[in-house]
Symmetry: C14
Subunit: 93 residues, 14 copies
Amino acid sequence: MDSMTLIAIASIITAGMTISIGGIGPALGEGRAVATALTSLAQQPDAAPTITRTLFVGLAMIESVAIYCFVVSMILIFANPFWNHAIAKAAGG
Amino acid sequence: MDSMTLIAIASIITAGMTISIGGIGPALGEGRAVATALTSLAQQPDAAPTITRTLFVGLAMIESVAIYCFVVSMILIFANPFWNHAIAKAAGG
Amino acid sequence: MDSMTLIAIASIITAGMTISIGGIGPALGEGRAVATALTSLAQQPDAAPTITRTLFVGLAMIESVAIYCFVVSMILIFANPFWNHAIAKAAGG
Amino acid sequence: MDSMTLIAIASIITAGMTISIGGIGPALGEGRAVATALTSLAQQPDAAPTITRTLFVGLAMIESVAIYCFVVSMILIFANPFWNHAIAKAAGG
Amino acid sequence: MDSMTLIAIASIITAGMTISIGGIGPALGEGRAVATALTSLAQQPDAAPTITRTLFVGLAMIESVAIYCFVVSMILIFANPFWNHAIAKAAGG
Amino acid sequence: MDSMTLIAIASIITAGMTISIGGIGPALGEGRAVATALTSLAQQPDAAPTITRTLFVGLAMIESVAIYCFVVSMILIFANPFWNHAIAKAAGG
Amino acid sequence: MDSMTLIAIASIITAGMTISIGGIGPALGEGRAVATALTSLAQQPDAAPTITRTLFVGLAMIESVAIYCFVVSMILIFANPFWNHAIAKAAGG
Amino acid sequence: MDSMTLIAIASIITAGMTISIGGIGPALGEGRAVATALTSLAQQPDAAPTITRTLFVGLAMIESVAIYCFVVSMILIFANPFWNHAIAKAAGG
Amino acid sequence: MDSMTLIAIASIITAGMTISIGGIGPALGEGRAVATALTSLAQQPDAAPTITRTLFVGLAMIESVAIYCFVVSMILIFANPFWNHAIAKAAGG
Amino acid sequence: MDSMTLIAIASIITAGMTISIGGIGPALGEGRAVATALTSLAQQPDAAPTITRTLFVGLAMIESVAIYCFVVSMILIFANPFWNHAIAKAAGG
Amino acid sequence: MDSMTLIAIASIITAGMTISIGGIGPALGEGRAVATALTSLAQQPDAAPTITRTLFVGLAMIESVAIYCFVVSMILIFANPFWNHAIAKAAGG
Amino acid sequence: MDSMTLIAIASIITAGMTISIGGIGPALGEGRAVATALTSLAQQPDAAPTITRTLFVGLAMIESVAIYCFVVSMILIFANPFWNHAIAKAAGG
Amino acid sequence: MDSMTLIAIASIITAGMTISIGGIGPALGEGRAVATALTSLAQQPDAAPTITRTLFVGLAMIESVAIYCFVVSMILIFANPFWNHAIAKAAGG
Amino acid sequence: MDSMTLIAIASIITAGMTISIGGIGPALGEGRAVATALTSLAQQPDAAPTITRTLFVGLAMIESVAIYCFVVSMILIFANPFWNHAIAKAAGG
């Protein structure tokens, strides 16, 4: 059973680190994008539709990186193939 | 019982680190976004509705990263599947 | 009893690290937001109500990250499910 | 008695690290806020009441992060539930 | 069976670290690209089509780096040749 | 007696690290505040009373963080509850 | 068989680290290149063909570094000479 | 006697690290304060008395952090309560 | 055979680290060079031939550093003299 | 005699590290102060006496931090109370 | 034979690290030099010959540092005196 | 004799680290001071005597930090009291 | 023979690290010097002889640091007194 | 002989690290000084003699730090008192 514990611990630590480290980049990148969007809106209010549309496309691209990390984190907690294999073996062995 | 202790320790440490490390990025990103919003408001008070709306959408996107981290942190403390499995096995074994 | 000690130590260290590391981001972000609010106020005193309102909403969003960390830190000290489980088992076992 | 020593050492180290690491962010953030307040005062002396009021609200928000760290640090030294539990057990056991 | 556990742990940790560390660069790079796109749009609204097209090509190039990391991460979780070889050997041996 | 030595060593190291690491932030923050105060004084000598008063309030807020660290450091050296408990037990045991 | 496990683990970890660390530089470099391309387009729309052509040549040069890393990463997972040698020896020995 | 050696070593290392790490912040902060004082003097020679007075108050506040570190460092070398307790016990035991 | 495994592991890890760490510098350097080339083209379209020629010579110089790293990485994987010597000895011994 | 060797080693390493780490801050701070003094002199040659006087007071304050470190370093080499105690005990024991 | 393996491993790791770490500086330095060359060409096209000549001399100086690293790296792989000595001894002994 | 070797090794490593780490600060500080001196000379050639005199006083102050480090380094190599004590004891014992 | 292997390994690793770490500074410094030389040439083509001469003297000074590192690196590989002493002893002993 | 090997290894590693780490500061500082010298020459060609003279004095001061490191490095390789003492003892003992 020791090997199951090790897999569980590795999954827990990795799940947390993945989303926390992987969230730094997107948060900073989105902060920068939003910040310039606001500056641009104040400078050229007439271009608001174009700016807003481009901002949302850009935020979606950046957020996708955070989503990747969140997906990997959730897979490791709730759909971990290595953990499932270990449970299956423990149940059947 | 040793394996339960190890899972508990890993969960405790990871839960804390996830939200604390994962909170640095969103806090800095939101600080930057709010800061430019204020600069833009001072520069172009007439565009206040557009700026405020864009700011709130942006803050929501950035805050979502912190929410991901908080969710993972809460899951690890209160709904940890590895811990539940260990308790179930300890109770039934 | 060794396993209880280990859980206690992990909880103590994580509780402290969570709030101290997690507080760096919000403090810097709020410092930046307040700083630009003051610059904006000096530049456009007439927009004071809008600026102040936006600043408070923004500070609340940023402070929420610090609150998350403080909540996790308090949970680990005073409502730690892993510690409670260990005490219950020690009392009943 | 070894487990009590370990809890004591963890509490001592964490108490010190919490306030020292957690104090870096607020100190820098407040330094930045105060600095811009002074620049703004020099630039727009007529807005002194608004600037001062906003500065104090902001400093209070930032200082709150340092207070959280100080509270956790004091709890770990003088009202540590894990230490109290260990003393109670040592006294009663 | 110990060797399978080690491969599983290495795969879990590497999968998480790959996407989280590898996502920092693309997120920051895209944030910068989107930010300047918005500045450029505000400065020269007439060039919107050229700017938007160049932005999307650039974002695709940058996102490709994150995709590489995500692909490697998924391969390590769901199509890991080393893990498959270990399972095959364990089943046949 | 070994456990007393360990507590003593942890207290010594933590006391020194607390004030030295915790002093970096306040020193830099105060340096920044004083620097802008001087710039502001040179730019607007007539506002000297307001600037000086705001500077002193701000310095007091920032210095408070250093004071927290110094207090924790002194408590750990001269009023350490864990050390006192160990001495009491050694004397009475 | 132990030596095969070690080679597998080293390959897994190195494959992930190579593309994740090696992707930071290209992502940031491309972000910078795209950003200035957009600024230049907004500043001199007439030079769009020259700017776009130079941008694509530059992006190709920078992307080549990420491709190198991805190639090394894929070689380590799917065409690893050390792993093949170990399998051949295990099969024939 | 081993425990005395350990306390001595911890005191020596901590004393040196406290003043050396703790001196970085004040030195940089004072350098910044003095630098802006000189700029301000060159810009507004008539305000020399006010600038000099504010500079000295500020330097005193910043230097106080270095003094705290020096005091803790001296206490650890020449008035270390843990060392004195160990000597007393060694002499009387 | 243990010594062969060690050489293999060292070669795998070094090959990946060489190209990933060694690629950061060239990618950033090329990003900077391309970025200024674009700025210069927008500023002085008439000098396009000279700028493009100088850019390509510069990119070749910078890329050469990445090529060095890639060459060393490939040598370590496919033409490693230490690995060949070990295989020869294992075959002949 | 082992304990004397350990104290000697700790003293040697700490003495060197104290002055080398502790000298970084003062050297950078003084460099900054001298640099602005020169800029100020070039900008306002008439204020040379005031600038020079303020510069020297400031340099003295900053140098004091380096002096603290040098004093602690010399104490640890030539007037180390812990070393003297060990020698006295070795001579008398 | 163990000592030969150790020398081989040290040579492999050092060869890779030398060129990868040593290539960061030259790549960044050359990127900067090329970047300013392009800016200068755009600003003063008439001085192209002087600028180009100076750029090439400078690039040669900077590249020489990367060449040093590549030479040391190649020496360690293909003309390593320590490895040759070990082989000679193993062959003759 | 083991204890003499340890003291020798600690002295060697510390001597080298002291001057190398301790030399970073002064070199950077002097570089900054010299740089501004040259800018000031170009801006105000008439003030050359005052600027040169102030520069030399400042360089002497900064160089003193490097001298401290060099002195400690030389003491540790050629006049090390701990080493002398060990030699004396080895000769007399 | 073990001691010879250790000396060989230390020499290999140190030789590579010396030139790779020691080359970062000169490469960056020369990059900066060349960059400003080009800016200066573009700004003041008439001063080309003076600028070029000063640049070459400066590059020689900076390159000398890289040469020092290369010399130490070559000495450690091809004229290592410690290695020669070990070989002489192994041959004569 | 073991103690001689340890001293040799410590000397080799320290010699290399001393000059490589200690060379970063001077190289960067000289790069900065040379860079501003070139800017100043382009801005004020008439002050060339004063600028050149001051530059050379400054470069000599900065280079002295690198010389200190090189001297310590050479002493450790060719005139190491600890190594000489060990050889003398080995020869005479």
